[in-house]
């Protein structure tokens, strides 16, 4: 069974993250919808990637629905989703 995890909500200021384990070599694949896509799309993807790499997750598919979350929220939600998926150790 594929490891999967999700965190966050669809409320304003939040980001809903669903992570799925994938075969090694896939890399970090991010599918992003955002209320501020034009202004911050690149920055959001970069933040998500950084969190994954920091937690030693290099192969993952992430579906993100963003409602204007700040970096700290994005980082927290991605970390939580990966922890729930068992793809990284818990605190």
């Amino acid at each position: 069974m594929n490891k999967q995890g999700q965190a966050g909500t669809l409320e304003s200021n939040d980001i809903h993250i669903v992570v799925s384990e994938t075969i090694p070599g896939t890399g970090i694949k991010i599918e992003l919808t955002s209320t501020v896509l034009l202004q911050y799309g690149t920055a959001i993807k970069r933040t998500i990637e950084q969190v994954c790499k920091h937690l030693n997750v290099n192969d993952v598919v992430i579906k993100a629905v963003d409602k204007g979350a700040l970096d700290c929220t994005i980082q927290a939600r991605v970390k939580t989703a990966l922890q729930r998926a068992g793809m990284t150790k818990e605190a």
Binding site: G8, D14, L70, A76, R77, A91
Partner: protein, 287 residues
Amino acid sequence: MRRTLLFLPGNNPGNVQSGGVFGADGVILDLEDAVSPLEKDAARNLVAQALQTVDYHGCETVVRVNPLVAKGAKDIKVIVPCEPDALMLPKIESAADVKEQIALIKSAEKPGQKPVLVMPLLETPMGVAHALEIALSDDRVTAICLGAEDYTAGLGTARSKEGTEIFMARAVVANASAAANIDGVDTPFTDVQDEAGLIKDTMMAKNMGFKGKLSINPRQIDAIHNVYAPTGAEISWALRVLQAIEEGKNRGTGVIAVNGKMIDAPIVSRANRTIELAKLLNLLEVE
């Protein structure tokens, strides 16, 4: 100052990131009662991140962790290195409870980190009964707070706006805080629509010796601060005290009296605090 400590639900990004704009003396990022059991991990991570990046504009940052029996140790381990000013410890019933958690805090602190203080929350009859020992349990105990909702449930009575059912608990907690020379913070007033009721309740708390109130809504902040603002009469008195001390110093006399009352250290301390607060609130005439 701890006139107001504002609760912010720890899993709510909107609240967590904007908590610093309301002018409260402190914010309590809540991992306990405001967070559903299924989201404790999400809240812990969010608060941890927020402490590192959100500007709380001078508010004291407090995190209410979960009790040890409900994964509180995990909260301490993750939150403490993010350098909150203090942790609020819920449902504390003994000095041993406090010491156990302080040990965990110490082991979680980074080298050179400013010591994280604690604010035990007394929410049960046993906790209130042990108020003094809890207040004295460790140097890191910087305030004790009363949580009346759970306390009255423990007493088996109903909570009321008049507060008769918590009168004794308030007196005990206020007294213990004064005896230990720390702050006592009163329970929140839960009817957010009733501003007159809030003012009355805060006056009661102030008169009983509480230095502030827990708050559950930003709308309460100004009203509580107004109650704690020194009145014109209090300011005049404080100025007279400080003037008398100055004069006494200049003349070389030891004991000073104002209005026939002896001035000793606690009175000077109170006068100084009053003037500090008056300055902060722009209540003094600019020289």
